[in-house]
């Protein structure tokens, strides 16, 4: 009976002591991990944004804003990554910079807003009669993007010494002028990590 009580009570104490902490994402001094974490995406996005704003390629001569679509960013790492972790930060800052306006009409699946086309289907169907006709989107109103953002994230694993490995993550982004196909800007950010072979990077 005594043994049973000990076996039952101790796990309860241990469960109660599980230490869960909320990450201080503004001033995180936590240890690095071999796989990609939010700090790596923050760093990559920050360098991309800085490079873009500094380059001046988004400054139109007439002062108006470029219409930009987000195309595909390929995840060629061994990890399951939602590449929106990178692109959404860049889209947010580019929009706030006042130099571009993002489009939700075309682009990668996650950057599109289905409602844009759903409302056009509604307009052309019998349901459209239920709507105030003046508020429905008309044909020829969608603005075509002028620039497109695309890219790739890939990973290389290398043996460093007997006990350690080196993992290199490459973030590559480029901006292409859709009309001419010319590439206006591109940037690569490398994030390298070294750690024990026991730690996995996927």
């Amino acid at each position: 009976m005594k043994k049973f009580a000990i076996l039952f009570v101790i796990p309860l104490f241990l469960l109660g002591c599980t230490d869960v902490q909320k990450i201080d994402t503004t001033n995180d001094t936590g240890k690095q991990v071999m796989s990609l974490d939010y700090r790596d995406f923050d760093q990559a996005a920050s360098e991309m944004i800085q490079s873009l704003l500094s380059s001046g390629v988004l400054a139109k001569k007439d002062g108006s804003r470029y219409v930009v679509a987000t195309s595909k960013v390929i995840n060629d790492t061994m990890q399951r990554i939602d590449t929106d972790q990178l692109t959404s930060k860049i889209e947010e800052d580019l929009t706030n910079s006042g130099q571009v306006v993002m489009t939700s009409a075309v682009g990668s699946k996650s950057s599109r807003d289905e409602t844009v086309y759903e409302m056009r289907d509604v307009r052309d169907s019998s349901k459209g009669e239920e709507f105030n006709q003046g508020t429905l989107p008309q044909k020829g109103q969608i603005v075509s993007p002028e620039l497109s953002i695309s890219g790739k994230i890939f990973q290389r694993n290398l043996p460093y010494d007997k006990k350690n490995q080196q993992v290199e993550y490459y973030f590559q982004l480029k901006i292409t002028d859709i009309k001419t196909g010319l590439r206006f800007w591109q940037k690569e950010v490398l994030i390298g990590k070294r750690g024990s072979n026991k730690t996995v990077s996927w």
């Binding site: 001033n27 995180d28 001094t29 936590g30 240890k31 700090r39 923050d42 760093q43 996005a45 920050s46 944004i49 800085q50 704003l53 500094s54 001046g56 988004l58 400054a59 930060k89 860049i90 947010e92 800052d93 706030n96 910079s97 006042g98 130099q99």
Partner: protein, 146 residues
């Protein structure tokens, strides 16, 4: 006796020289640990540290801050520093951008960024404001977490 006097004079002058650093730009805050070792904060070790830094170097020194607007109209700052220590130093910096009302402008690019400075060398880094509304800034530093 003369030797002791000379040693004391050496330590005293080291302390005075270390304590006479006027900041180049008060908006750039080089915290303890970045600009010096924590030994410099200790009352007991400070004189010894002062003497040591005369030989070995103090740490990160701020040499110049250039503030300008790029072609697109965004404020950019270029910081010039010098690592006077005998070893490589890594530190992080983060910039708070302020508009004309003194309100901080939020940006995803506003993250701690690491700078690595080789010993006894000049280094540069540049950063750009997220909007054209920015007119001022504050830069904070910290030791890079291990």
């Amino acid at each position: 006796m003369k030797k002791i006097f000379l040693m004391l004079l050496f330590v005293l002058s080291a302390v005075i020289l270390v304590g006479c650093n006027e900041p180049v730009d008060k908006r750039v805050n080089l915290v303890t640990g970045v600009n010096s070792s924590t030994l410099a904060d200790n009352v007991l070790t400070r004189p010894v540290y002062g003497a040591f830094t005369l030989l070995a170097g103090y740490g990160i020194e701020l040499k110049d801050v250039k503030v300008f607007r790029n072609e697109a109209g965004f404020m950019e700052i270029q910081v010039t520093g010098y690592n006077s220590a005998v070893y490589k130093k890594r530190f992080d910096y983060k910039v708070d951008w302020l508009d004309s009302n003194g309100i901080a402008v939020n940006s995803k690019a506003n993250v701690w960024t690491t700078v690595s400075a080789k010993s006894r060398t000049v280094f540069y880094f540049k950063t750009v404001a997220p909007t054209k509304d920015v007119v001022d800034y504050r830069m904070n530093t910290r030791e890079t977490p291990k």
